[in-house]
């Protein structure tokens, strides 16, 4: 009901937009872009086209009343022609070739500002935390991993219909309340796609062996207000240190596919969990050896997090456990030599146990899997990222390199460079190099190293 009210409110305003726009054109802004993304899989040499995606994006903003009431919408449609040309990927084309379901609507909300109040009602994404590319507190929205973690975070998050209510009781503080009646599951690439997780491929292989007799029963949360996700964030400053306190209570966006007894039925259900946490950020501004260093940190305690466990060598699940886990991160940024920015992050995912304590299954099938990638996990996963970026030619050319890795000798190295050809034409070239064991999150894609280029034209 609540979701319907949000949608209807946004639609009424959207329908009335053209009339308003005609009357007061200066209050209406429309922008858009066309983007081509082409990727080549290095292992296939010259024939290795793995993406030929064309994307059209339109965004509009209508200022209804003096910046106090604003409607915003962003839509996106894409088509990946690679699936028309390469039989190898045919099995995944139904999902990967074009925009799915309601993914075309990226944002659709109204903003209302009045004194210390700020409301954002509609389809949107909310980013919590200070970590870059690692979702510790950033769990408000589900994620689309059909291209692994390679796209920008704003493209990875799946927007949800929600009420985002903010109240600022004093300067530099903010209380945010999120009521999210909408639910979408996090998604992953289907078997046959370049970045299909090994577990997805393993399940698909098992289904083929069983002559496609395996049936998956999806059990989504019921459409009741009680099943909404609720979030709370308090933000304030102590001196020049900003901190947040965060709480999230809702359904875990990653389903767990578990076989029901010895049948061919699999149950894919979503579990409720809670997240308690906080974040800090501070730049050392006073003279001294630390001057210019920015420190960032996230901490989260996951209560009743559904953990998939099984045999990592064959990426096969045995079941789920509800564990209390900790995920924390600390990061430092500093600019060197005029315009070279170095950004380092260290994080630890600390599981409640190293293995599930279940005597009914063999020891080999008791290992926890990564929530997203289904890669094998140690009880303490140490994750590092190092990013170095700079610019040349009056910020026209921006190269960077990202190295993310864990203590299991697996990771990804991703150099990239963006060049501004003209105001409205931008070229990006880059590479994604994966290494590590095929059981690990990154290592499972060691045969999917790619080079890519994208050309974006805006208007």
């Amino acid at each position: 009901m609540f979701k319907r009210i949000l949608i209807i409110t946004a639609l009424i305003i959207a329908v009335s937009l053209p009339a308003y726009a005609e009357l007061t054109g200066e209050n209406f802004t429309l922008t858009g872009s066309f983007k081509n993304e082409t990727a080549m899989r290095l292992k296939d040499s010259l024939t290795g086209l793995s993406k030929l995606k064309n994307m059209l994006e339109l965004a509009g903003e209508y200022d209804i009343k003096n910046d106090d009431l604003v409607f915003f919408i962003k839509t996106r449609y894409w088509y990946d022609s690679m699936y028309d040309t390469r039989k190898k990927y045919d099995f995944a084309e139904h999902y990967m070739r074009h925009t799915q379901r309601s993914d075309w609507l990226r944002d659709c909300y109204i903003d209302y500002t009045k004194n210390q109040w700020f409301l954002r009602l509609g389809k949107q994404q909310v980013a919590w935390g200070q970590a870059d590319g690692i979702t510790i507190l950033d769990r408000v929205n589900p994620v689309d991993l059909s291209e692994y973690w390679l796209p920008d975070m704003a493209d990875l998050r799946i927007p949800l219909w929600m009420a985002n209510i903010n109240y600022s009781p004093k300067l530099n503080s903010n209380l945010q309340i999120l009521i999210i009646p909408d639910f979408e599951a996090s998604t992953a690439a289907p078997a046959g796609a370049p970045y299909a997780f090994r577990s997805v491929t393993a399940f698909d292989n098992a289904n083929k062996l069983a002559f496609h007799s395996l049936q998956v029963q999806n059990r989504y949360p019921g459409k009741q207000f009680d099943n909404s996700t609720f979030g709370l964030q308090w933000q304030d400053m102590i001196g020049d240190l900003t901190y947040t306190l965060n709480f999230l209570n809702g359904y875990y966006y990653n389903a767990r596919t578990v076989r029901i007894g010895a049948t061919t039925l699999y149950n894919r259900s979503f579990k409720r969990w809670r997240m308690y946490g906080g974040s800090i950020n501070k730049t050392f501004t006073n003279p001294g050896p630390m001057q210019g260093v920015t420190m960032r940190g996230d901490f989260a305690y996951y209560n009743d997090e559904p953990i998939y466990y099984g045999n990592p060598s064959i990426a096969s699940s045995s079941g789920i456990k509800r564990w209390d886990n900790i995920f924390w991160l600390i990061g430092f940024d500093k600019t060197f030599f005029t315009n070279w920015l170095a950004s380092f992050q260290f994080s630890q995912y600390i599981y409640q146990d190293s293995k599930v304590k279940d005597t009914g299954i063999t020891a080999l099938t008791q290992y926890p899997f990564n929530s997203y990638t289904y890669g094998a996990e140690d009880q303490v996963e140490n994750i590092f990222t190092l990013k170095i970026s700079t610019d040349f030619k009056n910020e026209r050319l921006k190269p960077e390199i990202l190295w993310s890795f864990t203590d299991d000798n697996q990771g990804r190295i991703a150099p990239k460079a963006t060049y501004e050809i003209k105001d409205n034409t931008w070229l990006t070239v880059g590479m994604n190099y994966f290494y590590g064991s095929e059981c690990d999150s990154n290592g499972q894609f060691r045969d999917e190293n790619q080079v890519y280029a994208s050309l974006k034209i805006t208007f």
């Binding site: 922008t31 604003v70 915003f72 994404q125 300067l171 006073n286 105001d423």
Partner: protein, 295 residues
């Protein structure tokens, strides 16, 4: 005895200098007067540069980046500043810059807080559309380019009175600056002080600047930078428009043109609209306000 007198004189001079610095109170208008020292003139120049005479200022404008071949890139911006000069938390002023075009950079926003203590670096936050998130960032180094312009960060935002030593070279009528961009000639025959400013930092990216200060308003209208070999490698021109607000004359910087003579790259910044003392709220200069960006 003679040494004692000199010492006392030096102390009095120093104390007067500090007193003078203290006298430049926010929200007042200061103009140079005959007989002022180079330091006093430069204090007024910095006061005007950072618009400390106003409570708040909002600009919209455009920046043009022009390379040697004539290829031009354009950026549109909306900028706001609130001046505080607040002793309790040491904040001098807060700035918010938002890119409004072209589409590729639309929404990119930068919030900075500058402190009264010149030794203290700025606090800087960035709204990153690709992350849909606010990130506290390490302040850029002073010699880095300002948003891709031919001006450095310190040219625009961080250089303070006291970062250099100053010497009054001469007083002359400015010969005028003819803009390649607007094709207009500005400030022809305007009486100026010419001040040499040498950075206190050793091995800095320039050895000295020659700065032309408008005698009437105390604004920096032109400057040249020289390297350690005495070669001129950059110029910056600034045109100010005088705005009358509540019977006070506010010199507002409306046009900048600069060139890196080594690369032949030029930058032009035009402030198309300016609003002064409109009663901006400090709430607009917070991290949570920045996170409400839509683009």
């Amino acid at each position: 005895m003679k040494r004692k007198v000199l010492l006392v004189l030096a102390m009095v001079t120093l104390a007067w200098g500090c007193l003078f610095a203290g006298e430049l109170e926010y929200f007042n208008v200061y103009k140079p007067k005959a007989g002022m020292t180079a330091d006093e003139i430069m204090q007024i120049k910095y006061f005007n540069k950072y618009t400390l005479f106003a409570e708040d200022v909002s600009y919209t404008g455009k920046a043009y980046f022009i390379d040697k071949s004539g290829s031009t890139r354009e950026r549109s911006t909306a900028r706001k500043r609130i001046n505080l000069g607040r002793e309790s938390d040491g904040i001098a002023y807060k700035d918010l810059t938002v890119f409004t075009g072209p589409t590729q950079v639309k929404g990119l926003a930068n919030l900075s807080w500058t402190y009264l203590d010149p030794q203290k670096q700025q606090d800087v936050w960035l709204w990153l559309p690709s992350l849909k998130k606010v990130r506290k960032i390490s302040a850029s180094q002073a010699d880095d380019s300002f948003l891709g312009a031919d001006f450095t960060i310190e040219d625009i935002t961080t250089r303070r009175f006291g970062d250099e030593t100053y010497r009054l070279v001469k007083e002359e009528n400015f010969t005028g600056f003819t803009s390649d961009f607007s094709k207009k000639t500005y400030y022809k025959d305007t009486p100026c002080y010419v001040i040499e400013a040498a950075p206190k930092r050793a091995n800095w990216y320039y050895a000295k600047r020659l700065v032309w200060i408008d005698k009437q308003y105390g604004t920096n209208i032109y400057e040249e930078k020289y390297d350690s070999k005495g070669q001129k490698f950059q110029y910056i021109f600034r045109w100010h428009e005088i705005h009358n607000v509540n019977s006070k004359e506010y010199p507002m910087q409306m046009f900048l043109e600069g060139e890196d003579l080594r690369s032949g790259h030029r930058t032009v910044i035009i402030n198309e609209t300016v609003e002064i003392d409109k009663g901006l709220s400090e709430e607009e200069f917070t991290e949570s306000a920045l996170s409400r960006s839509r683009w």
